[in-house]
Amino acid sequence: MTLPAFLQMGRFAVFIWAAYGFAGLMVFLNVVQPLIQKRRLWERLRRNQDDDEEDMYEETE
């Protein structure tokens, strides 16, 4: 099977690739979001140990 034929997937190509694309995007977001959160968290922990803010996501001045 050639690459264009593979990508075409018969007449349902749009639906198949949209579904896989959406699932891929969700996996990607699920990986990236906690990693960004982790970086911010570490920055905050290093900056201020006695942080009384209740929300992990809120920025301190």
């Binding site: 099977m1 593979f6 997937m9 018969g10 007449r11 349902f12 190509a13 639906f15 198949i16 949209a18 579904a19 896989y20 959406f22 699932a23 969700m26 996996v27 977001l29 699920n30 990986v31 979001q33 906690p34 990693l35 959160q37 982790k38 968290l41 570490w42 922990l45 290093r46 140990q49 006695d50 942080d51 209740e54 929300d55 992990m56």
Partner: protein, 245 residues
Amino acid sequence: MKLVHKYAAPKRFYELAGTLTPWFATLTTLLFVSGLYLGLYWAPPDYQQGNAYRIMFIHVPNAWMSMMAYMIMALFAAAGYIWNIRLADILAKVTAPLGASFTLTALVTGSLWGKPMWGTYWVWDARLTSELVLFFLYVGYMALQASIDDARRAAHASAILAIVGVVNIPIIHYSVYWWHTLHQPASLTLTSQPKIYITMLIPLIVMSIGFMFFYLTMLCVRARNEILWRERRADWVRKLVESRP
């Protein structure tokens, strides 16, 4: 039970999850790569659906995980509520966004499969509606968690929502038998022969285990963040932060 108490200490779990994460992540990657190869290339087209059935390889694992994650979330929430296990509260909380994303993926990919096969993106039949309710349960749980500042009170209140919502899980599962739905009944059950061909079964199993390990990987990563934040005033976190400037 001794083992439970040993690892239920947030510090111990933080370390354990740190060790497990790279292994889980590697397994997930291997399973996803081989599952995609098998599902998109190796498996032949279906005689009736053509290539469209390949959406199954992401739709079904996500639908399974949407329900499994909910059961896990409710069990952790209940354990946290009954026995006051802090780690259980944390694991329940971080499972919610993962479960919500599995549910949303199942709904969207199902809809993209429904259009070419049924001729419509959406019908209000029992299976689809109960899965949508599951999504709202996850969202409601997360909203409730976010609306209460105190971690213990947030865990208590949302645990009740999670436990009551469990009633929806058998409804989703049996909806295709109890009502006349457009959605087909299960192709795979524990008690009978699979109703799909082996070339479809193998990629489906590989992708399903892949999504299971994906859940475990992200559970570890998210739980570590949450533990670090909640324990930020504890000695071990202070030492950990100082040791990594």
